[in-house]
């Protein structure tokens, strides 16, 4: 397969500087757009390419951009482009690689996106813990300003753009795009009501596009080589390539660029090297911590948005988390719910009060204090906390996804915890502890 997003990323994972990036075709897309294409043309190419947002929801990027008021229909003032580099979804680790190893690819994508929507100010909103990426992006931005790729009158085109790296002060909810906008405004990162959508009224009340790192990294290639070329990269119905990842107890956990529609089995068995010795596959979350479990019987499905959707889960971030047969499914779901309960922004009651309640019920079951009625309580919580519309944003429904599918697929495990009065995986855990504890 042709490497697109990772063409500058080798096994040593050393970052590309401006010279190396340009030597390998970098900023060709930008030069082409600024000399030959109008913003409207660029928007049309991205729409035609069928690029879908890589931040988790898979919303078509060209369509999202088309909602930004342009020309006379836009009131005078700034427009903003924001790159969402918050990456805190449990189990997601793809954007880090793209930023640390090829910062210019992201910057070129952002300049093109800003040109398309007519933005004059742009931010890379990045989690504060990504210190290496922050430093490399800042270095790359300095190179761009020094060579006329950013600032006033870029490459003599008349288009001007400022770009800044904005490290976050923390909290998972900042990744939700309207919460992110509130964080950029110096407020508590509580999601905003929609409508109005950010495309029309976002940062400081002005039109704003928020896109994921990986989404933006695709843009230079699509503009440079066209929508038709891009569509041929996917194996199934979705276009392009995707950063896929596998974590958990497999032989070779990692992150790889592969065609959209790659079978899950290829990811797990070829790229991740299969399960570690002595372990069997029990199930997996296909796209990070807020997606539903799938089972070994789903291994031959293609990683395409609709295919995974029809199987009852979501492609999410495309980073698989593997559950093996010696890890407790109840414990895994408890870990996830604990995370989401901790990260709730506290604005709405079902999430603020409901998630800690769910966590407590799961903790009781895991600790062997569970009752059969607890399973009804969990089903009730999945129904009410999980329903879109009962909460102000998608954090709480997302939190319920692994729980709802665990109740369906691993019901036996819940029952064994309750009837046995303890976690049936406890002996394995004790074994692990013993190994870790020796020599202490």
């Amino acid at each position: 397969m042709e490497k697109v997003l990772t063409r500058n990323i080798g096994p040593e994972q050393t970052p590309t500087d401006l010279k190396a990036y340009e030597a390998n075709g970098g900023y060709q897309g930008l030069r082409k757009a600024l000399s030959d294409l109008s913003p409207k043309d660029c928007q049309a190419v991205i729409s035609d390419s069928n690029l879908r947002g890589r931040g988790g929801a898979g919303f078509p990027t060209g369509m999202k951009w088309s909602f930004v008021p342009m020309g006379d229909s836009c009131t005078p003032g700034h427009k903003y482009l924001v790159c969402n580099a918050d990456e805190m979804e449990p189990g997601a680790f793809k954007d880090r690689l793209l930023m640390e190893c090829d910062p210019h690819q992201l910057i070129e994508g952002m300049i093109l996106a800003a040109y398309t929507i007519g933005a004059d100010l742009s931010y890379i909103f990045i989690r504060g813990e990504y210190v290496v990426a922050i430093e490399r992006l800042r270095g790359a931005l300095a190179e761009c300003y020094a060579s006329g790729l950013l600032g006033e009158n870029i490459l003599g085109s008349g288009f001007s753009l400022e770009m800044n790296v904005h490290p976050s002060a923390g909290r998972y909810i900042c990744g939700e795009e309207t919460a992110l906008i509130n964080a950029l405004e110096g407020k508590r990162a509580i999601p905003r009501a929609k409508p109005p959508f950010p495309q029309v009224s976002g940062l400081w009340g002005r039109p704003t596009i928020v896109n994921n790192v990986e989404t933006l990294c695709n843009i230079p290639h699509i503009i440079d080589r066209g929508a038709d070329w891009y569509k041929t990269l996917g194996l199934g119905e979705d276009a392009g390539t995707k950063m896929f990842g596998v974590s958990g107890r497999v032989n070779n956990p990692g992150c790889w660029e592969l065609p959209m529609g790659t079978p899950i089995r290829d990811l797990l068995e070829v790229h991740a090297g299969g399960m570690q010795e002595g372990l069997q596959l029990r199930g997996f979350l296909p796209g990070g911590g807020s997606t539903d479990f799938l089972l070994p019987e789903h291994l031959d499905l293609a990683m395409d948005y609709n295919v995974i959707g029809k199987a009852g889960s979501r492609m999410g971030t495309g980073t698989l988390i593997i559950l093996d047969d010696q890890t407790c499914p109840v414990g895994m779901v408890l870990n996830l719910i604990r995370f989401f309960a901790h990260e709730s922004c506290g604005f709405c009651t079902p999430c603020r009060e409901g998630l800690p309640w769910t966590r407590q019920v799961l903790q009781d079951i895991e600790d062997g204090r569970g009752q059969l009625e607890d399973l009804e309580t969990l089903a009730y919580q999945v129904k009410y906390i999980g329903a879109m519309g009962n909460t102000h944003c998608a954090l709480a429904p997302g939190a319920m996804e692994p729980l709802q599918s665990a109740l369906k697929y691993f019901r036996d495990d819940f029952d064994r915890h309750i009837s046995g009065g303890c976690c049936p995986y406890e002996s394995h855990k004790a074994h692990q502890h013993q190994q870790i504890g020796t020599g202490a």
Partner: protein, 177 residues
């Protein structure tokens, strides 16, 4: 800090000239002063390690907002510290992939070695231990950050090496994070 570097405010709390300079640079990017609240907190924390009540009041005054409003912002974010922290903060990932790969045991090992639990600081003031959401390095689990360094594939030996100079003593609690 010497007196000449300080600007006195009428609340009796002070920001240094350096801090004020940096905060004012941020103000040029925002339409009203409170918009720079998080940046200002980060600037002051970078100098002082944490945000004391005095620092909070000084920043609030400079940004023309109430201390309560600014505290609402400060306490929301997990990388803004409203209590003192040690010289190095350990951000320990206990999210799902690290959990599957045995992070609970590593955490127990760190706690035993340093004599601290989440939210606590070692008696010599070197380390504070805090949990952090998934560090985006799940393929190298279990992981943590110590100050600005990402440390991957944690095991017992690594913990021993990293903290070989630390003797577990009585810890000082700085409360819930």
């Amino acid at each position: 800090m010497n007196d000449a570097q300080m600007i006195q405010t009428d609340l009796g709390t002070v920001l240094t000239r350096e801090e004020i300079c940096q905060i004012d640079a941020e103000l040029s990017h925002v339409p009203y002063k409170a918009g720079a609240a998080i940046d200002a907190l980060k600037i002051v924390q970078a100098q002082r390690g944490w945000i004391s009540d005095e620092s909070l009041r000084a920043i609030a005054k400079h940004l023309e907002m109430s201390a309560e409003e600014l505290d609402g912002v400060a306490t929301f974010y997990n990388l803004i510290y409203r209590r003192p922290v040690g010289e190095k903060v350990i951000l320990f990932c206990d999210s799902v992939s690290c959990w599957i790969c045995g992070c609970d045991g590593i955490k127990a090992k760190i706690s035993a070695k340093l004599g601290i639990d989440y939210g606590e600081t070692t008696a010599d003031n070197q380390y504070t231990l805090l949990p952090v959401p998934c560090l985006g390095a799940c393929d190298r689990a279990p992981v943590m950050m110590v100050a600005d360094d990402l440390i991957t594939h944690l095991d017992e030996d690594k913990i021993d090496q990293l903290f070989s100079d630390v003797k577990a003593k009585d810890s000082v609690s700085v409360g819930e994070q």
